[in-house]
Symmetry: C2
Subunit: 370 residues, 2 copies
């Protein structure tokens, strides 16, 4: 499943006809053109979708590599931020694809973080009923999580990621060097998503992350590289087991039911996705303790890790009915039930199907009381 040559690491996500490589290599941004030529018989037209923050930093390098490899490159530059992950941005991408007259076998390339990747992937899945797409993730969060696995979406005004598709990329091209230009806040939010893999399936990785947070925050190459490798391997393993989230993949949503509610209640303006998910994870871990699944002290251990990371740890003040309402629209419901991902212990997550609303009331009350 993996090949390692010096500082280059390649994982194959094996999904039959939808298989693809995750290529991780410092400096590889400059070589995307050659990589595309290996994937496509002929270099013709392609489109790069990016945003106003990332494009000035990296689009010229991507374009140069593509053009040198013979590609005709058009571009679509969106505003930056989760609040633009909308049907309007989707329409903007569609108009650009129509304008560029991309045909069925010509690729679109997502150059950016999770928002750009999700919107570009969903657009690629719909345009002409599906064209190839390539992920070039430029944030920690996208490199450790969202660029792999084919979950694509836009938000509906009443719920996050409610409009989307399972649509796999043809290649994930990860250059850890591009993280150098990230704001500290973005780095922290991304590291929080990396810690998630430790919480749900790998206690020793949680401990390793906890011990290496300072180095990760400074983007020390060896630590960042190990972190990305480990996360991509975890993500690939889970996606290969359960591509469309019928079972085990749901564990990756630890913290997301609460986290999406936080994002929705604060209208995507207050928290980064990774920050909201970290807060949601604290709630899920406390709920795990309150329901008697996880041993006492689990929340404290997770909170200590997040505190060292420097994440905001204050749970916003909404009452329980607001929480339930916001979560009622979460897309991971089955029937009228809300599914929660909880922990038996650190490293052992599970799907809890039968949490009653009063447990959520008690959970929220316990925060207001504290």
């Amino acid at each position: 499943m993996s090949e390692s040559v010096e500082n280059r690491q390649i994982y194959q996500v094996d999904l039959g006809a939808r298989s693809y490589d995750i290529h991780i290599e410092a400096g590889c941004l400059n070589h995307i053109g050659g990589a595309l030529n290996k994937l496509f018989n002929s270099s013709t037209r392609c489109m790069v979708v990016s945003n106003v923050t990332v494009a000035p930093l990296y689009l010229a390098r991507v374009r140069k590599s593509l053009e040198e490899a013979g590609w005709q490159v058009s571009e679509c530059i969106l505003p930056d931020g989760e609040r633009y992950k909308t049907i309007d941005s989707f329409n903007t991408i569609m108009d650009a694809l129509m304008q560029a007259r991309l045909s069925r076998n010509e690729p679109v390339i997502a150059l950016g973080g999770g928002v750009v990747g999700d919107m570009t992937g969903f657009s690629a899945s719909c345009y002409r009923r599906g064209i190839p797409f390539i992920q070039i993730p430029t944030t920690v969060l996208a490199q450790v999580d969202s660029s792999v696995g084919g979950k694509t979406a836009i938000n509906h005004p009443h719920g996050k990621n409610m409009i989307g598709a399972f649509y796999q990329p043809k290649l994930v091209w990860i250059d850890p060097d591009v993280l150098q230009t990230l704001a500290q806040r973005e780095i922290k939010a991304g590291i929080a998503e990396a810690i998630k893999y430790g919480l749900i399936r790998d206690a020793s990785f949680f401990d390793w992350m906890h011990s290496n947070i300072a180095a990760a925050l400074k983007l020390e190459p060896a630590v960042i590289s190990t972190m990305i490798h480990a996360c991509c391997q975890h993500k690939a393993e889970v996606v290969m087991q359960d591509e469309t989230e019928q079972g085990v993949r749901a564990l990756l949503n630890l913290g997301h039911t609460f986290g999406h509610a936080i994002e929705s209640m604060t209208r995507y303006t207050t928290y980064l996705h990774g920050e909201a998910v970290a807060l949601g994870t604290l709630l899920a871990v406390r709920l795990s303790e309150q329901c008697g699944y996880a041993p006492a002290g689990t929340e404290k251990k997770v909170a200590a890790c997040y505190k060292q990371l420097g994440l905001p740890l204050h749970i916003p003040d909404f009452d329980a009915s607001q929480w339930l309402d916001a979560m009622g629209h979460d897309k991971k419901n089955i029937g009228s039930q809300i599914r929660y991902i909880l922990l038996h212990k650190i490293g052992d997550g599970f799907v809890a199907g039968s949490i009653e609303p009063h447990a959520i009331h008690a959970l929220i009350d316990s925060y207001h009381a504290g």
Copy 2:
């Protein structure tokens, strides 16, 4: 592949995990509730999407059957017509699905013709990254063609069906009795699509259709039933061979490259889809003759059949550059080439990859001269 009990016929479209039945039976509209109960473990919520023409005729019967089977039914009623097959209607369906809080395993039901089916299927493919959907086609065109095979889409202002997905229904539920309320013009346009299967893959079916047009126009049950059965079987066979149109499925697009251009150039206001495709088919057959693929007289034979059907046969007056421009946006291009479906003879279609623009100029000129 097929089971026949008295006047009930069931074909299985075998696509592995995406397999489903096509159920054809006069009067079956009143039994959709029971059919859904066989498909789903528990009857919970569902939504019916229809339009202002079909809903007053058939929604009450569908709702009654569903409610008697224990389903909680919400509805979304759209305006009628190809010009409403837009992102706005898609948003209307999404809002209704959010409003009804349908969850991942609750189905949406398309009750209507090709436009309703295409939009509903695409919406089902996107909502929560995919929920089950059921086709109840109510036009000849939808019963013989568009409800089977999982092609779903909406139009972009610059091209038909440019935004969509390959997304299979869980069931196609065909009641030929509902055709009784169709306008003659709709019946003719649908029969034209049925004739298509004869042209591309079954010369004897073409002859049979030609001989039975008068009876088909009168909706004589035996003829209509045979026609629907034959078409569903052809469609199912083609889709099983090539679900996502990498090869043989493209033959089903006979007349569509020209036909879509006609619809686009006339802004979806002048021709029904089946009418435009019939005109496009005449152009494709003439092109087949002009390029030396099909024997002289083929166009004449097809035109005679269409004439007996009472279709409009006048090719609209646009110049060749307008045609090429309109077809340049057609989604079936590969690279910068336009793919045409042509005939070697009646019953034998093929994909012609290398038609030069001058051949299209000559084709259009030959009509203007005539």
